[in-house]
Amino acid sequence: MNRDEMVRRFDEIVAEMMRRQGFPKTLRSISRGTTAEMVNILEGVGEISPSGRIEGSIQTDKGHIVFAGVTRNRSDPQVVQSPGEADAAPGVTEYSAVQLLNEVAAAEPPRGLLCAVELTQFSASQKQVLLPLLWTYILRNRNSNKPDDLVAVSAAIRKYIAILPMSRISEVAVLLDSGNRAQLSIELEIEVAKMIYRNFEVHPPVRADQYPELASRLFEMAHAYTNPRVLLRDKYSAAASLSIEALASLRSTLTAQALKLGSTSPHRWFSELISDDLDDLYEHWIAKNSDAAAWLREVRGLDMAPVMTQ
């Protein structure tokens, strides 16, 4: 290639890159002779922390990209990654949390990675990045027939629900939707119901019936799994009891009906199990929200008319 051809070719490349990106880094990359692959940004979100560092997640035509702990170069709009400077949660090495986020953003993260994510505590801004990644992973893998995949999805579900803002908890009703073409496996339904219960055990609802859609899905679960014909099958009693207890934890008006399913079961041990767990829930709630605790007693029929004494 002679010099004139080289200049013309260079101009064509620059024009194409400018058309696609309009981003000065492209010019610089080309002038340096790099051959980095370009990606088109489809959508994304970023957050600038008070320290000026940036975290974010973008969806591109080549898959997810996560950046965390990056700083803006004032003389150049490109950013330079500095993973060791992210605002990680206390007690967790900053790099490990950022590294995990980057690895989870890969198209097919290894299963063990999801389990490592479950064990890691993330900063508030990192959680905002992590949530959509976990959600994508859950939706992509929840119908897998491989038992090992379900283990990883279960870890993703637990972490997702444990860090999901309580104001968005209704969103997990989608996971229990029986209309899905491939219904969630009973093992994963157990994880969803368990995590709903645990969330509200810690943060009792301030009023009844705040989460009607979630309550409907849980009631469907309770109704299906308390059937005496199936209750003794593998894992059914866990799913049945957790769905009833999760309903109670929501302060749903469907709780009374669900409790009746338990109390009328021919298996007395089943109603005892639920009763004991709701005793534990009451103990947790009494210190946090007396209204919620009083509601729980009432819906269980434990509030007797006061005995009149002389």
């Binding site: 063990g112 479950e118 090992d148 810690v202 009693s237």
Partner: protein
Amino acid sequence: MNRVPSYRTTQATITLQNFDVIGQDSKLSGLVGHTGLAKSAGAQAAAQIVALDMSPPLHAASNPMTMTANVVGSASLTDDEVQKIRTFIDRHALEHKAFGELRLNRLIDAVPKIYCIYPHVVPFHEEDGRYARTRFSCSGFVFEAYRKARIILLEIADLPDAGLPEIQVAYQGHLALLQRHGSGAAVLGLDGDGPWKVLFCGYLFHALNRDAASIRGTPYTPRIEDRYFPAEVSPA
């Protein structure tokens, strides 16, 4: 079925009931160092009992491990009690199975997040108090499983005080492993100077070494010597 008191195994084959409590000796003779639940009933090789235990991680019904049964304790569980314990295990199974996916170096790092010595059970909390998993000690897992069946084997508030040297004898493997990786006993709940009311495995077998009515009616209050079974057995 008549209830059998807790016993040390002397035969190669033993007969177990569902969720009987299995004790495996530590290297120090006589001290029960690990415990779990028998997965199934029937005659089994004492050296290879298929068990559900908090190793860590928890080995539940879908991924049981084998233990050597040096000591066996039985409450002769009713069918209803078995169902309650099975439900309890099913609730936690997948939660702990996930840790089997971790590579060994990550698993060691993860131990304090999935396992504890004191207290015997404690959630691993997110910053706002919510939690995705429950940590157990091996004896804590067995105790909580029976508690779900309304069998309170021990008076937890009245467990004997134990200092770090006594705890190290029982948990020498766990603590040495952590120490090699730069962690101390504090990550497993033993922070401060102690003493701590640790639920030692041996206590469970003394609790089960009573008549059926006492097992279900009165939690056992152990002595520190009950780390061994029988209690009079102690290292030279």
